[in-house]
C-alpha cells in the first residue's frame, strides 16, 4: 500500500466553498486529484459521525470548509461547525486517528485561488503525514 495516493474527503458548504471550487474550476486552476467533495448546504449540518465515518472508511484526511465567520448563509452555522471540529480533534486520537487528519478552513465564494491553494497545501501536508492505515488494521 506504500505508493497509494492519499484520498481526502471534503465537506463543503454550498454557498461559499463549493462556489469557490466552481470558480477555481472555471478559472482552470489545476489541483491534485486527491480531494473528493461532498456538498452540504451548510457546514453547520455536518454531524461529527460523518467525519469519523470517512476516516474509518479509509479517508486519509477530512477537510471541512465553509463561509468566513460572519458570512454564513445561515447566520452562524460555520461557527457551530468550528465547535464540532474542536470536539472532534479531542475525540479522534481515541480512535487511533491523528487529529491533523481533520482540517477546517474558511473559503469565501469569490476565493477560487484560495480554494486551489488550500487543496494543494492540504494534499502536501497529508503526503508528509503519511497514509491512514486504520481500515487495514481493522480488517486484520
Amino acid at each position: 500500500m506504500g505508493d497509494r495516493e492519499p484520498t481526502i474527503i471534503a465537506f463543503v458548504c454550498n454557498w461559499c466553498t463549493y462556489t469557490a471550487a466552481d470558480l477555481a474550476g472555471t478559472s482552470r486552476l489545476v489541483q491534485p486529484p486527491n480531494v473528493r467533495m461532498i456538498r452540504m448546504m451548510c457546514t453547520g449540518m455536518i454531524d461529527t459521525k460523518y467525519v469519523i465515518k470517512a476516516l474509518l472508511e479509509g479517508a486519509d484526511a477530512v477537510l471541512i470548509s465553509g463561509c468566513h465567520p460572519g458570512d454564513c448563509h445561515y447566520i452562524n452555522g460555520n461557527l457551530k461547525a468550528r465547535r464540532r471540529v474542536r470536539l472532534l480533534k479531542e475525540i479522534l486520537p481515541r480512535f487511533g486517528i491523528d487529529e491533523r487528519r481533520l482540517k477546517m478552513t474558511w473559503i469565501g465564494a469569490s476565493e477560487g485561488i484560495d480554494f486551489a491553494n488550500t487543496i494543494k497545501e492540504l494534499v502536501a501536508e497529508i503526503k508528509q503525514l503519511g497514509l491512514n492505515d486504520l481500515r487495514q488494521k481493522m480488517i486484520l
Binding site: 497509494r4 484520498t7 463549493y18 474550476g25 465515518k53 479517508a59 465564494a109
Partner: protein
C-alpha cells in the same frame, strides 16, 4: 421497491471528454448495483440530452437518475425538471460534478477518469437512498422594498410603481438622489445631472405607489422569499415632515456653521439644513450632534421661534416599525476612496488637490462656488492636471478598474475649457483610456479636438518644490510619459484625483442584514457574474447599481430596471416554490433535550410539552441543519441530507480508493 437507476455522463463537447474517458466511466457505472442503463452523450443539458433521460425513464421504468456533468449549481434544476416531465419526483435525481471539480482542474487524464468514477459511484450510492419530496408553494407578498435612494433605487422604485405595486423606499440620508444629484453634468452627452434626475426624484415623491422613508435605515430582516419582515429605524429629524414647507427661514437664523458633507466639506452649512433646493423630500433636518440646543444643551431654539409652520419638534424620537414585503432590492451604492493613503499625491497636504467628487461640487450651480471653477484663492486656474486610476488598477489598493473615471475626466476637461476659459491647459495622466460605452469613444475624440492633453503615465508624485521660475507657486506633477519615454515636470494650479469607486464602508453590515455576500473586491456578490447579475444566493433579494460593482449611470439604470423586473416577476406570479429540503424531527427518536431549540438560528423549532418532543415549524426552517448536525439521538435530520444518504456518498467516494 427495487431501485432502477439511469446514469448519464456528459461530454460537454470536449470540456469533460477531452480529459475524462467518459465511455470508461459509463462502463464502470454499468457494473454498479441497481444501475439499469448508463450512457454518455455530447451535451446532456441540450434538448436531445434531456429527452434521452425522459425516454429512458419511461422505457426502462427508471426510478432514480444520476447525471455526471457540470456543477449542480448550474444545471441541477434543468435535470430535475426533465425528471419531473417524465413523472419522476425531482428529488430522485443526483448530480456528480466532473467538470469544475475534475476535468477542468486535473492534469492527468487517467487521474481525472479515476476521480470521475469515484464521484459517479458516490452519486449512484447516494441516490439509492433518496426520498420523494415535494416543493411547498407559498404566497408572495406583493409589496417590494427598495433599499437606497440613489439613481438605482429610484429607477427600480419607479419601474415597480408603474406596474401598480406598492414600493417602500428606504434612504439613510435626509433626501434621495444619491451621488448623481451631487454631479453637475453627465458624460458623454453633458446633460445636466439635476435636470435629468430631479424629474425622477419628484416622481418618487408624487407616486401614490411609493412610500419613501428618508433618514431611515433597515436594521433587521427576517422571513424568507415572498414573506420578508423588515424592521426599519427612522432617525429623528426634529422637523415635522408634514408641516415643514421647506421655506428655509430656520437655516437663515441658525447660529451654527459646520462643514457641508453634501459639498464634500468645501462649504459650510447650518445645523438645520437641506442638501440642495430641489431635495426630495424638501423638508429640513436638524443635525442633532452640531445643534446648540440638542447637541450642546445650550440656550437657542431660534429655528423653532422663526418657523411659522410650527414644524420644529425637538422632542422627536427614533421610530422603529415593521414592513411586510415579498422581495427586497438592495441599491446601496458605492463609496469614494479617500486618496490620503497615496501620500505621493499630497491629498490633504496641498489644498489644490481635489478628489473627483469635490471637483464635481465646484462645477455645480448650487455648489460652494456657485458653479465656477475657482482655486481656494478664488482665481480661475490656468492649468489643471487630472490623474486617472488613483487607487484603482493598483494592486496596493483596488485591483479592479473603476469604469467611470476615464469618462468623467474627459467631462472635466470639457467643463474646465468651458468655464475657466479655452486657453486653460488640461493634462490627463492616464494608464489606458477606456471609453467603451455608447458615444464614449466619440466624446474622447471630441476632447482631443478641444486640445486637452493626454499623457500616458501614472505620476510618481505631486510636489510644491519648484525647480524653475515657471514652477513657482504651482503644484508640479512629476511623471514619465511612457509613450515617448521622457520624464516630465508639469506645473499646474489644480490637481484632480480620480479616486476609486469602492464598496461602502458599511457594506459588511448591510451584507449581514440581507444575507448576501461580498466579493473579494468588497462589492456585493451576484449569483452569476454573467447570467445572474441582479440575483443573489438569497431568494427574493436582488442587487441594483454600483453596490454590485463600479458602474456608470446608464449601466446603473439598466441594472436597476433589471432588478425591478426580477422583483416584479415574483410579485406578479404571487406564488413561489420553497425547497422542501428542510429539517424534520422524528418524534419517536426525540429525547426532548431541546438542544436543537437553542441552536436554531431562525427560532423554527418549538417544544411540544404534551408529547415531550421538539417540533420543526417548516415555514420558518431554511434547512441549515444546525439541529441535525447536533442531535445526539439522530432524531433531527435535514431532508435530502440524511445520515444514510451521506454515509452512502462517503462509501461511494472511498470504495475505489482503498
Amino acid at each position: 421497491m427495487q431501485r432502477r437507476i439511469g446514469f448519464y455522463v456528459c461530454h460537454c463537447g470536449t470540456n469533460i471528454a477531452g480529459k475524462v474517458a467518459v465511455e470508461e466511466v459509463a462502463a464502470f457505472v454499468r457494473t454498479l448495483k441497481n444501475v439499469v442503463v448508463a450512457r454518455s452523450y455530447k451535451f446532456m443539458c441540450s434538448d436531445p440530452g434531456q429527452e434521452m433521460i425522459q425516454k429512458d425513464i419511461r422505457d426502462f421504468n427508471l426510478n432514480r437518475v444520476v447525471v455526471a456533468s457540470c456543477s449542480p449549481r448550474l444545471h441541477e434544476k434543468t435535470f430535475q425538471s426533465a425528471c419531473e416531465r417524465a413523472k419522476l419526483n425531482p428529488y430522485y435525481f443526483q448530480m456528480a460534478c466532473i467538470r469544475e471539480h475534475c476535468s477542468w482542474v486535473t492534469e492527468d487524464p487517467a487521474e481525472a477518469t479515476e476521480k470521475a468514477k469515484a464521484l459517479a459511484a458516490a452519486a449512484i450510492n447516494r441516490v439509492n437512498h433518496h426520498e420523494k419530496l415535494w416543493a411547498r408553494e407559498v404566497n408572495v407578498h406583493p409589496d417590494i422594498l427598495v433599499v437606497g435612494g440613489g439613481i438605482a433605487g429610484i429607477q427600480a422604485s419607479l419601474d415597480i410603481a408603474r406596474a401598480d405595486r406598492q414600493v417602500y423606499l428606504v434612504e439613510k440620508e435626509p433626501s434621495i438622489g444619491g451621488h448623481m444629484v451631487q454631479f453637475d453634468k453627465t458624460f458623454p452627452t453633458l446633460d445636466c445631472a439635476a435636470c435629468i434626475s430631479t424629474p425622477k426624484t419628484v416622481a418618487v415623491s408624487q407616486s401614490p405607489k411609493i412610500k419613501l422613508f428618508s433618514y431611515s435605515e433597515v436594521v433587521e430582516v427576517s422571513g424568507f422569499v415572498g414573506n420578508y419582515t423588515v424592521k426599519v429605524r427612522s432617525k429623528p429629524r426634529y422637523v415635522n415632515e408634514e408641516r415643514c414647507t421647506g421655506c428655509g427661514q430656520c437655516a437663515e437664523v441658525c447660529p451654527v456653521s459646520v462643514p457641508n458633507d453634501f459639498d464634500e466639506g468645501l462649504s459650510q452649512r447650518k445645523a438645520i439644513y437641506r442638501n440642495f433646493p430641489q431635495s426630495v423630500p424638501s423638508v429640513f433636518t436638524i443635525d442633532a450632534k452640531n445643534c446648540r440646543l440638542l447637541g450642546q444643551h445650550k440656550k437657542c431654539g431660534l429655528c423653532a421661534k422663526t418657523c411659522q409652520a410650527k414644524a420644529i419638534d425637538y422632542k422627536q424620537k427614533v421610530r422603529e416599525f415593521e414592513l411586510k414585503v415579498g422581495s427586497i432590492i438592495v441599491a446601496t451604492g458605492f463609496g469614494v476612496m479617500d486618496p490620503s493613503p497615496l501620500k505621493q499625491y499630497g491629498y490633504g497636504r496641498f489644498e489644490e488637490v481635489y478628489t473627483g467628487l469635490e471637483f464635481e461640487r465646484l462645477n455645480n450651480a448650487v455648489g460652494p462656488t456657485g458653479g465656477q471653477i475657482l482655486t481656494k484663492k478664488g482665481k480661475k486656474p490656468e492649468s489643471v492636471g487630472i490623474i486617472h486610476c488613483v487607487g484603482s488598477r493598483d494592486v496596493n489598493h483596488h485591483e479592479y478598474c473603476s469604469r467611470v473615471c476615464c469618462m468623467y475626466a474627459l467631462k472635466y476637461g470639457h467643463l474646465i475649457k468651458e468655464k475657466a476659459g479655452h486657453d486653460t491647459r488640461v493634462y490627463n495622466f492616464y494608464i489606458d483610456m477606456r471609453c467603451f460605452g455608447k458615444g464614449y469613444e466619440e466624446f474622447y475624440r471630441r476632447l482631443q479636438e478641444e486640445k486637452v492633453t493626454f499623457i500616458r503615465g501614472r505620476p510618481a508624485e505631486i510636489t510644491d518644490q519648484a525647480e524653475s521660475p515657471v514652477e513657482r507657486g504651482k503644484l508640479v506633477i512629476v511623471a514619465e510619459d511612457t509613450l515617448s519615454g521622457r520624464l516630465l515636470r508639469v506645473p499646474v494650479d489644480m490637481v484632480i484625483l480620480c479616486s476609486a469607486m469602492e464598496a461602502r464602508a458599511e457594506a459588511p453590515e448591510v451584507a449581514r442584514i440581507f444575507g448576501i455576500n461580498q466579493g473579494g473586491d468588497g462589492f456585493f456578490l451576484e449569483e452569476h457574474p454573467k447570467l445572474g447579475p441582479m440575483t443573489t444566493p438569497t431568494d427574493g433579494v436582488f442587487l441594483a447599481g454600483a453596490c454590485q460593482g463600479p458602474k456608470d449611470i446608464p449601466d446603473t439604470v439598466s441594472h436597476a430596471s433589471g432588478a425591478a423586473a426580477q422583483a416584479l416577476a415574483l410579485s406578479t406570479r404571487g406564488k413561489v416554490q420553497i425547497s422542501p429540503t428542510v429539517s424534520y424531527i422524528d418524534p419517536d427518536l426525540c429525547a426532548g433535550c431541546r438542544g436543537c431549540i437553542k441552536l436554531c438560528p431562525y427560532s423554527a423549532i418549538e417544544f411540544d410539552e404534551r408529547r415531550g418532543v421538539s417540533v420543526v415549524n417548516e415555514a420558518l426552517c431554511k434547512g441549515c441543519g444546525s439541529c441535525a448536525g447536533f442531535c445526539p439521538s439522530g432524531a433531527a435530520r435535514v431532508r435530502h441530507f440524511s445520515a444514510r444518504q451521506l454515509f452512502a456518498e462517503i462509501e461511494g467516494l472511498l470504495d475505489s480508493a482503498v
